[in-house]
Symmetry: C2
Subunit: 239 residues, 2 copies
């Protein structure tokens, strides 16, 4: 099966990394989602790796395709393919991909769902060429995974963005926070996040919280985020 022909439709981070992870094993063709001009209709598999808003539109344009069609989205149900295709599925790699950053693909969990057992097996076979963590899932569970990953990755990164902005505005470098950031991440491998919490809100230290809110007066949006997070932590531990 190693001579499988696979179309990857997309120009974003996920498409770029899937190509890198699979191109040594399979005959991969990267397809521009705007034109679809170099799409090979006789391919075995087509992976659609575009923004959620665009998946259905692209799928509708490929209704002639007889191979296995799948998308790589966390939040789009598999049923987006049910109308036009016989063999279809989802191939969801749970990782944050940036174009120029190297990643150890073997650790990426891949969540598979498909219309039938043969298609599940085929998509798992493809995933097994780079990952050692492959799971069956359904569209609802996958959506919950994606939601959790938005909190644990995208929103965490935005908090790093906020911290970095505050430091830069005081001529400080985010490097002074790296040991703290690494320890915060390391902790949750051995301790539940509930037990790992520390800081002013955990202690209900209103004096420090108010002094921080004062210091944030010139950052209206960050102040709102600080306030919402502090209140939720206080509510979690003290009410």
């Amino acid at each position: 099966m190693n001579n499988l022909k696979i179309e990857i439709i997309g120009r974003g981070n996920v498409a770029t990394h899937l190509n890198k992870a699979l191109c040594d094993t399979f005959d991969i063709n990267l397809v521009n989602p705007r034109t679809l001009e170099n799409f090979r209709a006789n391919s075995d598999i087509c992976l659609i790796s575009v923004s959620d808003n665009a998946i259905e539109n692209i799928a509708n344009q490929l209704s002639f395709f007889k191979g296995v069609i799948a998308h790589t989205s966390g939040s789009t149900p598999m049923t987006v393919f049910a109308k036009n295709f016989e063999k279809y599925g989802v191939f969801y790699p749970l990782q944050t991909f940036s174009k120029d950053i190297l990643i150890d693909y073997s650790k990426i969990p891949v969540f598979i769902e498909a219309s039938d057992n043969d298609t599940i097996d085929l998509l798992k076979f493809v995933a097994s060429k780079f990952s050692t963590h492959i799971y069956d899932t359904d569209s609802n569970i996958r959506k919950q995974l994606h939601l959790a990953s938005v909190f644990a990755c995208n929103y965490v990164n935005h908090l790093y963005f906020i911290a970095n902005k505050i430091l830069q505005d005081n001529s400080l470098d985010i490097n002074v926070l790296i040991p703290l950031i690494e320890e915060t991440t390391r902790k949750i491998k051995t301790t539940s996040p509930e037990d790992a919490q520390t800081g002013p809100a955990r202690r209900n230290d209103t004096k420090t919280i108010n002094s921080h809110l004062d210091a944030l007066s010139k950052y209206t949006d960050f102040k709102e985020i600080y306030d919402v997070m502090a209140n939720n932590i206080i509510k979690t531990y003290h009410k």
Copy 2:
């Protein structure tokens, strides 16, 4: 100077770890902040490691003390000691401490401020016994550092708490997110948080955002946090 006598007043995480980090080098005495009963008045240094609300009260009870007095707080100004003491300062280790977790003390940045140069040198000497990252700072900059660390540590951990709760409620384990969490942390060592951002809000993918908000209907507080964060990311990148 290795036979310095140091009082550490506190029973919390920071006091516990400072004792661990320093007890092999100095003559350390841990003092109960509620009673102060075993306090040694002839000590060289007294480190007050209690919640910000309680620092001033304890300092006032120790006005007879002739050694160097310092607190370990990120947000309390050094001037809390100015009324009653001649030699005073701040000894602020920027790390998240949990009682039973081992930490590589050598990487912890310690921020020092003091009333005079001799006291700065003495506090730096103490810090140098465990850390290789020691900085001069003032009360305003230290407050900004503490504020940034609340975002990058406490609030990050609370996002892990939220992700964990969503996963647990769907019989999933936070371990599936560990590669993603580690990659998110690893990225900021080589990429600015601004450039590292990914996800639905970064793409202004309103379809996914709304579907996530729907999925959060039973978690009122988490929904509010999701919404505030999504809006701030969209504003950062799309407005």
